[in-house]
């Protein structure tokens, strides 16, 4: 498996690893059975992501994608964060091997889930995403 320097750099020094005890939104996706699982914690103030932390069980690409995705949404509005695609994460990492693209989907999904967790907790309608009833059913 040949990873880009950027992937390796984020894998070896992942940013934003950890938990936020009083998080405003938490999203957990994936399934250890499939070999990948990600949990994301958001601290939100005035519709802005003030802080973000993650934990990931998975390959190098999964960990690097989690790290990059959290970097990309920090300080952004919820709308901006929602619109971050796995493709954009992969691009920011200088590309991912084709068989590893699915690992970057995890980060996008986890962010969506955390944002909706926040929305529901605050009495708002959850947003619809492209994963609602599609490809990732196997994650249960």
């Amino acid at each position: 498996m040949e990873y880009s320097d950027k992937v390796m750099e984020h894998f070896i020094n992942p940013r934003n690893v950890g938990e936020i005890p009083d998080a405003d939104g938490i999203g957990e996706v994936g399934n250890p059975k499939c070999g990948d699982m990600m949990k994301i914690y958001l601290k939100i103030e005035d519709n802005i992501i003030k802080d973000v932390k993650f934990k990931t069980f998975g390959c190098g690409a999964a960990i690097a994608s989690s790290s990059m995705a959290t970097e990309l949404i920090k300080g952004k509005t919820l709308e901006e964060a929602w619109n971050l695609t796995n493709k954009a994460v992969a691009e920011a990492l200088g590309g991912l091997p084709a068989v590893k693209m699915h690992c970057s989907v995890l980060a996008e999904e986890a962010i969506h889930k955390a944002i909706n967790d926040y929305r529901i907790k605050n009495g708002l309608e959850p947003w619809e995403d492209r994963f609602s009833n599609s490809e990732h059913d196997h994650h249960e």
Binding site: M8, I12, P14, P32, C34, G35, K55, C59, G60, A62
Partner: protein, 394 residues
């Protein structure tokens, strides 16, 4: 500890020993004649191949006439399985194998299944051992071949080959064993063990890559796989890999001259490493058989982490190892061997295989022990599964 290069993936392949390379060299440069040619110059080539054949025969207690050189382990496996299946079709179409074979065997069997053969894939127990009673029960009067590996490449489990050979011989069924991982690590006697066909590959015992052999007991009915010229008594066509075959001969001679001594040395290092791992890293399980395993093999699963990321971090410290995680193979499922011994997917994903060999030293072992626990802990601290476990949620 200072960073060092530690190769612990000898089950994947080995380096070529200097004595082996030295034996091969003249057959690249001076004695390059085609063994099939008539002139005097080529006789040296022919002679070198026959000497290598004798060395392989001696290592297995076979006759030189029963050794056929191939382009590696996969070719030997394919030849044995397809060759026997096609040549014995009139007797039956049933083949027995196991769920933990190398893909060279499994995929050859799956191919035969597609064209009308029936294959029984025997289960193994939690240690990767075949159950002899199940094997006996699987035999029918249409069974033409039993193919069971001598030792497993992932978990190192060694099968009761002599017992299986006896059963096959009594029932008049051809018995093939993939001994690619066993040669040099286990004493092999094809006569005593009633083995009809045996595959081996030089690059697993300090010989060159891309050369192997198939032992075919005299009298076994087998079709050719590679058709063409008359090399290898007309059974395996193609101008011989002369330096490779010479290297195979030298390597097997070296690898089998002191199996006990080699095992004792490697096992001592292996056990030092294994005990250290089990002591220093909690939530770890050993995969494979506690005793009946290859001397250099360690296969462990670290709970809550994934194998590919583990390998990448080990690589940062100069350590070469392997894993049965799905993430490293690019497929959706982890190793078929780890699933066959009953591991849940997430435990199989966290597997690490370290295979020790002749170059490894106590310093290597201590270096790995100084690096590995921290790496595992680092990944665990990043793992949502570990978090759940610590919080008592799973």
């Amino acid at each position: 500890m200072e960073k060092r290069f530690v190769y612990m993936d000898h089950a994947a392949t080995t380096y070529v020993k200097p004595e082996v390379l030295e034996a091969m060299m003249p057959y690249f440069t001076e004695n390059f004649g085609n063994p099939s040619s008539v002139y005097t110059f080529s006789r040296k080539s022919k002679k070198a191949i026959e000497e290598a054949r004798e060395k392989v025969a001696k290592a297995l207690n076979a006759l030189p006439d029963e050794i056929f050189f191939t382009g590696g382990g996969s070719e030997a496996d394919n030849w044995a399985i397809k060759g026997v299946a096609f040549a014995n079709r009139d007797k039956g179409n049933h083949i027995i194998t196991t769920k933990i074979e190398h893909h060279a065997v499994l995929h050859a069997c799956e191919y035969l299944e597609k064209i009308g053969f029936e294959i029984t894939y025997l289960d193994v127990d939690e240690y990767g051992m075949v159950n002899i009673d199940e094997l006996k029960k699987a035999i029918t009067d249409r069974t033409i071949l039993i193919t069971i590996m001598f030792a497993n490449n992932e978990i190192g489990t060694i099968q009761p080959i002599a017992e299986i050979g006896k059963i096959a011989r009594e029932r008049g069924i051809i018995f093939h064993t993939d001994a690619v991982q066993a040669v040099g690590n286990v004493k092999i006697d094809v006569k005593e063990m009633n083995i009809d066909l045996l595959s081996l590959a030089a690059h697993k015992f300090y010989g060159p890559k891309g050369v192997g052999a198939l032992y075919i007991r005299k009298g076994v009915k087998i079709d050719n796989l590679i058709h063409g010229g008359g090399q290898e008594k007309g059974k395996r066509a193609g101008t011989e890999n002369l330096p490779g075959i010479v290297g195979l001969g030298k390597a097997i001679e070296l690898a089998t001259q002191d199996i006990d001594g080699h095992n004792e040395r490697i096992k001592k290092l292996r056990d030092r490493l294994l005990n250290g791992i089990m002591e220093k890293i909690p939530y770890t399980r050993l995969n494979g058989h506690p005793e009946k395993r290859l001397p250099g093999n360690i296969n462990v699963s670290f709970k809550f982490i994934e194998g590919e990321s583990l390998l990448l971090l080990l690589d940062q410290f100069g350590i070469c190892a392997s894993t049965g995680s799905a993430c490293s193979s690019g497929s959706l499922d982890p190793s078929h061997v780890l699933l066959a011994i009953g591991l849940p997917h997430e435990i199989a994903h966290g597997s690490l295989r370290l295979t020790l060999g002749d170059l490894n030293t106590e310093e290597d072992v201590d270096y790995v022990l100084s690096v590995l626990p921290n790496i595992v802990q680092r990944l665990r601290e990043m793992s949502p599964l570990y978090e759940k476990f610590i919080k008592g949620e799973i």
